[in-house]
């Protein structure tokens, strides 16, 4: 029962939200309480998984390879926990960060369908089921990205929708082929079939389709162009939500599939992952350096940091895998924080363009602090979380003797620092340009519901870094489960 909570809670909230109509007060109240309830449920699930191991439930009571299986292992539980935590904070920010019109058009409804898709994708134990949750997720994100129908949004929406649909079609085609080859779609059953087969090369045609499908959603190197041309168009709250969740679900899918199916170190897949990871990191970070819009800089950095996660997956050792998971969790916190601070800057000055803002540090030192924490965490300054994420990844790389890729990762880290310092210099230290909308013409006081989530995210990156040892232990446990698919298979396929 507890296994299905990440789907059931958002579903209940969506039904309630549909019942209250367009009363903004109730929409906000139900929406935010639902997000909090989801966070509590994720805590409960995390605790249960730590106590009892992998949770499995069979929908409809059909035994495993035939019915729809929901599985929560430690990785899923951690992803649920961190995603519902950030989503709750983004929800709090959205109370004032999203205008009334968009609230009336039921922002929170699509927020919760998005969470339902994300939660479903994390707990699905069946490829087709996973595809359906992916689809629920991207459909809600289509609506969110175009909510409000501004010209920029519609334009970004066209690119976003087209590319994501391509990803879905490729993923679906892979599912069709793999069903034809093996006759099963259950993740665990399929893993067993692949491991017992002596013709695993036959699976490659499906896996490359899966790889491209997940690659488009995760925005890795040749497939990332939709992300920077659409992420800066909706209100920054929505961008922060997307940055926290969507690409990471793609990375989660990749980690899940690669650990279940590519069991021995296969040079083809490893080289593919490492080369694409290196290119993703370099191109993301270099294009970010040329931008002057805060949201676009941060969007390009999403791509560069996806490269780090893929690199950790490509190193293939249990330690590097745990490091990739650590980096992913750090990135969810820090990136969301950075985007939300971007939103605060825009509230204050009326612009995202670095050239037309400045002098913020003199006016609002604390705003500087809240930006400083996530930005330096992204760049990898100790003792913030990004330092440990990168440190573990680099250690994993040296242990696996992948010196070139690791060297590129270190270099990319320095360029990331450059971009973050650029935002810092332009927005905070540079004297304000003369034609700036002075606070007099923009007397808006920042709302407390907008500052608190930003502060919590900033300090949680600090806390995450300071307690890196404990988290790394949990994550290594999760990576151990991933490296031994037998545990997963046994938990799912054991007779009820």
């Amino acid at each position: 029962m507890i296994t299905a909570l990440p789907i059931l809670i958002p579903l209940m909230v969506v039904i309630l939200l549909l019942m209250v109509g367009r009363k903004v007060y109730w929409l906000k109240l139900i929406g935010i309480s639902g997000a909090f309830l989801l966070f509590l449920a994720s805590l409960l699930i995390f605790y249960t998984v730590r106590q009892e191991g992998i949770l499995v439930s069979q929908a409809g009571g059909w035994p495993a390879p035939y019915g729809i299986t929901l599985v929560i292992d430690l990785l899923s539980a951690l992803m649920l926990l961190i995603s519902s935590f950030t989503a709750f904070l983004v929800g709090v920010y959205a109370l004032k960060g999203i205008d009334e019109k968009r609230h009336r058009f039921r922002f929170f409804l699509f927020f919760h369908t998005l969470m339902m898709g994300v939660g479903g994708a994390f707990i699905a134990g069946d490829i087709f089921n996973m595809y359906v949750w992916f689809e629920v997720m991207v459909m809600s994100s289509f609506v969110l990205i175009t909510l409000g129908s501004e010209k920029q949004q519609l334009e970004g929406g066209i690119k976003y929708v087209t590319m994501n649909l391509m990803g879905s079609f490729l993923f679906l085609a892979g599912i069709g082929l793999i069903y034809g080859k093996t006759g099963t779609l259950n993740l665990a059953d399929l893993s067993m079939t692949v491991r017992e087969s002596d013709q695993t090369f036959l699976m490659n045609s499906s896996f490359i389709l899966f790889f491209m499908g997940f690659g488009i959603k995760a925005a890795i190197f040749p497939f990332f162009f939709w992300l920077p041309s659409s992420y800066h168009t909706p209100p920054v709250t929505i961008t922060a939500l997307f940055a926290a969740l969507l690409t990471k679900v793609g990375v989660y899918g990749m980690i899940r599939f690669f650990t279940l199916y590519i069991t021995d170190i296969n040079p083809f897949w490893q080289n593919l992952l490492l080369v694409l990871a290196a290119l993703t990191m370099v191109i993301g970070v270099l294009t970010a350096a040329s931008q002057y819009d805060i949201r676009r800089i941060l969007s390009f950095h999403i791509i560069s940091q996806i490269g780090y996660m893929i690199m950790g997956l490509g190193f293939y050792s249990a330690f590097a895998l745990a490091a990739a998971l650590f980096f992913m969790m750090h990135n969810i916190l820090a990136k969301t924080g950075a985007f939300l601070v971007g939103g605060l800057i825009q509230e204050k000055t009326g612009s995202f363009q670095l050239k037309s803002i400045g002098g913020l540090f003199k006016e609002h030192p604390w705003l500087g602090l809240f930006f400083f924490l996530p930005a330096m965490a992204l760049a990898g300054v100790p003792p913030l979380s990004g330092f440990f994420g990168k440190f573990f990844l680099i250690k994993g790389g040296f242990e696996g003797q992948h010196f070139l890729t690791t060297a590129i990762a270190i270099w990319v880290s320095i360029v990331t620092m450059f971009s973050m310092i650029k935002i810092w210099n332009e927005a905070y230290w540079k004297p304000a340009p003369k034609d700036l909308h002075q606070p007099a013409s923009h007397p808006l006081r920042l709302k407390r519901t907008m500052i608190v989530p930003v502060a919590v995210l900033g300090f949680s990156t600090l806390l995450f870094g300071l307690s890196a040892g404990w988290f790394m232990e949990v994550l290594q446990e999760a990576a151990q489960v991933l490296k031994q698919p037998e545990l997963y298979i046994e938990a799912v396929l054991k007779p009820v």
Partner: protein, 116 residues
């Protein structure tokens, strides 16, 4: 039957990709529809077809005569078709809104968001 359907799938994929690369927004949506249906057909074919046999198990006591068709790919395709409907409805609404705002269907105009 398989050969014919395979050819149709190939044609649909080709036409879909061709339409995606055209400049018109409407043709882009047609391309999406083609690709979506091509994928549905691909699932259907690759799961193997059993001609003339329904996907039913024989009644209790009665003898199961011969093969029965696999019901799973049919269920998958049905789900995928429904999702495809949703997608098409959304893209058409997007198309309508975009045209109302800008008065153009030309995809070459869709480059505002990529400017530095």
């Amino acid at each position: 039957m398989e050969i014919m359907l395979s050819i149709i799938t190939g044609v649909l994929y080709t036409a879909g990709v061709y339409l995606l690369l055209r400049r018109s927004l409407v043709k882009l949506i047609l391309g999406i529809i083609f690709l979506s249906n091509a994928t549905n057909l691909l699932i259907f074919i690759s799961a193997g077809m059993t001609e003339g046999k329904p996907a039913f198990v024989a009644k209790e006591g009665a003898e199961q005569t011969g093969q029965m068709a696999d019901p799973l790919p049919q269920a998958l395709v049905l789900t995928a078709i429904v999702i495809g409907f949703g997608i098409v409805a959304f893209t058409l609404a997007l198309n309508y809104k975009y045209h109302k705002q800008t008065g153009t269907y030309d995809l070459d105009q869709v480059k505002e968001t990529d400017k530095v």
